[in-house]
């Protein structure tokens, strides 16, 4: 009985008696969800354009953050470090396209997926070989102190992250809708064969997509890195982005954002109000269970394209 009441009654009593605290938890969840969305965005970009489930996105986040922090440690101004890291991510993208994806054209999806796990191992090892495995502190001058808005405490840094994520999505939307390259990207995402036949260079497009995903990874890396410190565990953030993906659908950019917000809020609320009933640390699997239950009712995710199957 104690257990049942700690699941079905106590949390609601708690919510009812401290509504402001609940709002605070929800807002905290929304803002941490933004961080998940940032990682999920990179996944979606690559999946849309090349149909590759890029497990290496987490490793790219870590690698970008390591490079940025490493360059800044060498005394470079942050603008120069940023530009150099962007260059490095572009090089990584081109190398991935040339050395891995280009050689695996027409292979089944699972082989490409395994190849990206190989890239994950390689990038994890490479980044730590070059920059060392100590925790790096990344300070981009945004205070981590909470401020009070309307009686609710909100972390300043999280607001900054949300603004950056919003800007990023806006820039990406403009890039996809208004530029020549963006149109080509959308064409490739729709249909590889048709895009090829109207003269869109597939290989160049893939290199561009991986570069863009790398830059999104860089933004995510800087955000996560300045929050948690740049360290190996950053690569595990990618695992948190996976339930976000299936919630939102693999092919939808708005889906990645909304999925991230749902996972962020769900996780925080569950941990704060229900966590003690289950013995804590339910954050590890809650997002997956949420996504699993969700998938049973909507297999293609929130915004995914409807799955039509023909024999």
């Amino acid at each position: 009985m104690d257990f049942l009441s700690s699941i079905f009654i106590d949390p609601f009593v708690q919510i009812g008696s401290y509504p402001l605290f609940f709002v605070e938890v929800v807002i905290g969840g929304l803002l941490s969800g933004v961080m998940y969305s940032l990682v999920a965005l990179g996944f979606v970009l690559i999946f849309k354009a090349s149909g590759v489930f890029n497990f290496a996105q987490g490793a790219m986040v870590l690698f970008a953050a390591l490079s940025f922090a490493g360059l800044m440690e060498h005394g470079l101004h942050w603008t120069i470090a940023l530009a150099l890291t962007m260059g490095i991510m572009a090089l990584v993208a081109i190398a991935v396209e040339r050395l891995v994806l280009g050689k695996l054209v027409n292979q089944p999806h699972i082989i490409l997926f395994m190849a990206t796990i190989g890239i994950t191992y390689f990038l994890d090892g490479f980044g730590q070989t070059i920059w060392g495995s100590d925790v790096k502190v990344l300070d981009i001058g945004i205070p981590q102190t909470p401020i009070e808005i309307g009686g609710v405490l909100i972390n300043q840094f999280d607001i900054f992250a949300a603004v950056v994520a919003g800007l990023l999505v806006f820039v990406l939307a403009v890039f996809f809708q208004k530029t020549r390259v963006g149109r080509a990207l959308r064409a490739v995402a729709d249909d590889h064969q048709a895009a090829l036949s109207v003269g869109i260079p597939l290989k160049t497009i893939w290199a561009i997509v991986w570069t863009v995903a790398g830059l999104v990874g860089l933004v995510a890396g800087i955000m996560w890195g300045s929050k948690l410190g740049v360290q190996f565990s950053l690569a595990l953030v990618a695992l948190k982005a996976l339930p976000v993906l299936i919630l939102g659908g693999f092919t939808s950019i708005p889906g990645a954002i909304v999925g991230g917000l749902i996972v962020g809020v769900g996780e925080k609320v569950a941990e704060v109000f229900w966590g003690s009933a289950f013995g804590g640390a339910i954050e590890d699997w809650f997002a997956y269970m949420l996504a699993l239950v969700f998938l049973l009712f909507r297999p293609q995710g929130l915004f995914g394209e409807k799955i039509i199957e023909r024999v």
Partner: protein
């Protein structure tokens, strides 16, 4: 010349249906078995048995299980680690709750319990497929490990969280196979016997009607449904049997290999490791499971020892990072060179041997 089927006539149906219809295949297989059962324990020392052959056997078992699910039935799963942990904890709970239970029965029962858990987490496969399913099976991985970590009942309320396997003997004998009294040879032979029996069972399963149903669902599930194959039974039976193998593998890991039951050994990296094995070895191949397991077990050991063998002096942490890099690069290299896995190389070799020494 060496590998020709000419002149070998099959005069009965039993001969026609045999697993190895060609005499040369039989010679190779029985030769390998003789080496594994007699030469390996006789010639290798405890270090080799316990650090190379034992993990190889355990991981082959897990790879067999995942290959049934992913290679034959086409359901991508990343929950292998969670299922192995289920097997390990089931075996621990059974053997401590019923001290009189023979160890063979403990292993089989823990496999059956894991099969039940596998079916539970296989239910979403009826609605979702491909990468969505792969991510969904991650739920099994994280949830199950969290459960064994958090609920003290599973560890018999042990305070340290690390629990050791109780000593047990083989049925009708007093030869210890688990616990501190067990010799490496006894553990090795016990594990080998189980792997051989279950591999034989797997080989027969995949060439029987249930195996053909799995392959039909893998190749195109809607078409399979139209010709009268029930997706519910087919997919769930694949999950059940695959989880059975993974569960036995987990019990073997905990009882025979490390001797202690700890959730950390079955984390997400274990799932990826098994997936690597079946893809490097060959999807949809029993032989491939063994080749892949051998490759993935041997590679890190080789990489760790390579710098000292070459006389290079590199710091330990740099070596471990370099290992990561080389491991990743080799995986990619293998996928590019032979996406069908090591089993396909073996097939090519057999074709070549058929004509050798003539060019055609």
């Amino acid at each position: 010349m060496l590998y020709r089927e000419a002149g070998q006539f099959k005069t009965s149906y039993a001969r026609d249906w045999s697993i190895f219809p060609i005499a040369q295949d039989r010679i190779v297989v029985f030769g390998m078995l003789a080496i594994a059962f007699i030469a390996v324990p006789a010639l290798s020392n405890q270090y080799w048995l316990m650090t190379i052959f034992m993990p190889f056997l355990v991981m082959s078992m897990a790879a067999l299980g995942l290959n049934i699910l992913t290679g034959y039935a086409g359901q991508l799963s990343l929950g292998t680690g969670g299922f192995m942990a289920t097997g390990a904890f089931a075996a621990y709970k059974l053997s401590t709750a019923f001290p009189g239970m023979p160890i063979e029965a403990v292993f089989l029962a823990s496999g059956l319990i894991t099969a039940g858990v596998g079916v539970l987490f296989g239910i979403p496969s009826l609605r979702i497929k491909g990468f969505y399913l792969a991510v969904a099976t991650l739920a099994a991985q994280f949830f199950l490990l969290w459960l064994y970590n958090k609920v003290p009942w599973f560890t018999n309320y042990s305070t340290s969280g690390v629990i050791s396997a109780p000593p047990r003997t083989i049925l009708f004998t007093d030869i210890y196979v688990t616990g501190p009294q067990a010799t490496a040879e006894a553990k090795y032979l016990f594990a080998l016997t189980m792997v051989v029996i279950l591999a034989l069972a797997a080989k027969n399963l995949v060439r029987s009607s249930i195996g053909r149903r799995w392959m039909a669902v893998r190749d195109m599930d809607i078409a399979a449904e139209i010709i009268g194959i029930k997706p519910l039974q087919t997919k769930l039976s694949a999950f059940a049997i695959s989880s059975f193998y993974c569960g036995v593998a987990g019990a073997m890991w905990a009882f025979l290999y490390t001797g202690s039951v700890e959730p950390l050994a079955f984390d997400i990296n274990r799932s990826f490791q098994v997936l690597f094995m079946i893809i490097i070895g060959g999807l949809g191949s029993i032989l491939g499971s063994f080749l892949g397991a051998g490759f993935i077990i041997a590679l890190p050991i080789l990489l760790t020892n390579a710098p000292s063998l070459l006389g290079l002096n590199i710091a330990v942490d740099v070596v471990s990072h370099l290992e990561f890099m080389i491991f990743g690069a080799l995986i990619i290299f293998f996928l590019i060179v032979e996406p069908h896995g090591l089993a396909r190389l073996w097939q090519i070799l057999k074709e070549k041997l058929r004509l050798w020494p003539f060019p055609y």
